[in-house]
Symmetry: C2
């Protein structure tokens, strides 16, 4: 089955080779700038590159849009597709319906629920692939593609996918920001951030094994105001972190009283 | 070497058997309620239990206070110690100096930097042990104890330890709260929280390997206001989480412009 990849960012650069390894032929790679398409195609067997969204002559069966969320709508409005193809995007937050702007009758979503960075290897079989399509045939195709990439494929509609994406922001972006602040506090005090590594790993292991809500410890859940005040004093010179500390601590205390 | 454990909470219940495995003799376990001391001593070879802080007749060399932070000062004021012993507490946030309330000339801190839960096994060798003492002899003893428990022992004074404890609150308590919210959002939408597990594990792996600050992705760092607004709408019924979302996102955007 031939596949066209639209986009050359983090998701595209991971997804394209993963699809090849799973036996699909990457027919074409599109990027607004041809050199970016070439950067992706370098890691592929025989993909053509293009900076033109007219795919009327393409023999691809599946078109995968893997671009920034804000760009999906514009691409959907511009792309020219061959008859008889399935076009999907890979976004967690954008509804499938945005692809109705394309002329295709068959639209869908294939959302790999993971954080991708360009130079970081990712084990695809572990990544949940969330699918959605407007036809049973399209859904069957996406399930087949999903299963060839991952051990876990689930059908999730646009509304639920957005909720999952919101949850992902809390457990990834916001968790990462807390780790960034921990990193800053340790470096500012000439302390080795790696001292916190076993704690960070145990935080995640414990939350996954016994549930995050039952895992909470620390000054906020104990309502230990004297320790919280000492911490707030340390943050005196960083008003923004001080406010974060206060509001997250309050939220932890509130969650206890639910 | 004989050791007395003051306290019967999460830290005490992990530390006492770990010290025994490392070759120390747990002489006595104190708790305000004798049945709590007995719960700990059940897992020990031959520890006496006590609800009395008069240890003037004890032959222990090391007294380890492992109680809630707020209770340390009171214990320090009440405890009666034999001549010639080292008394330490195990808290990240309380200064060593609080132990000057005891009559002992030799005071210190042995802080295991980890989150402890009663029924959860912890691999002690991986836990950084942070030590501090007011005499070289006391410090040498704590280093010996630390090294018998863990691969990683570091000398950190009270001021730095409090900074580390603050960082620990961000990377443990606050991370755990973000995971709790992710869990709530998924369960409220009948989505399986385990869909987020690979993302959570990768979040931590990536932050530890390439640094959290370089790992950030998502709508805030991209200043993708349209996605952030969609997320805020989903949180409309939970004003507290909406405020958290807004403030943490703003903090991520601010960190970008530093």
């Amino acid at each position: 089955m031939k596949v066209t990849i639209i986009g050359a960012g983090n998701v595209a650069s991971h997804l394209a080779p993963a699809l090849e390894r799973a036996g699909y032929i990457i027919n074409e790679v599109y990027a607004r700038r041809i050199d970016e398409a070439e950067r992706i195609s370098q890691n592929l067997y025989s993909a053509n590159t293009s900076d033109n969204l007219d795919f009327s002559g393409s023999d691809s069966v599946l078109f995968l849009i893997a671009v920034s969320d804000y760009a999906i709508e514009q691409i959907a409005g511009e792309i020219v597709l061959p008859d008889q193809c399935l076009i999907v995007h890979t976004s967690g937050s954008i509804p499938m319906s945005v692809l109705e702007l394309t002329a295709s009758d068959s639209i869908g979503v294939l959302y790999p629920l993971q954080t991708f960075s360009r130079n970081r290897k990712i084990s695809f079989p572990e990544i949940p692939i969330l699918t959605e399509a407007n036809t049973p045939e399209g859904l069957a195709m996406l399930e087949q593609v999903g299963k060839s990439l991952s051990k876990r494929v689930a059908l999730v509609d646009s509304e639920k996918r957005l909720q999952l994406h919101l949850a992902a922001v809390f457990v990834n972006n916001f968790v990462n920001h807390m780790l960034t602040i921990g990193d800053e506090i340790t470096s500012e005090n000439n302390l080795d951030f790696s001292l916190l590594e076993p704690l960070i790993r145990e935080t995640v292991d414990k939350a996954i094994e016994i549930g995050a809500s039952d895992s909470q410890t620390g000054p906020a859940i104990r309502e230990d105001h004297s320790t919280m005040e000492m911490h707030m004093e340390l943050l005196e010179e960083n008003e923004s972190y001080q406010r974060l500390y206060k509001i997250i601590s309050k939220s932890i205390i509130d969650s206890k009283n639910l």
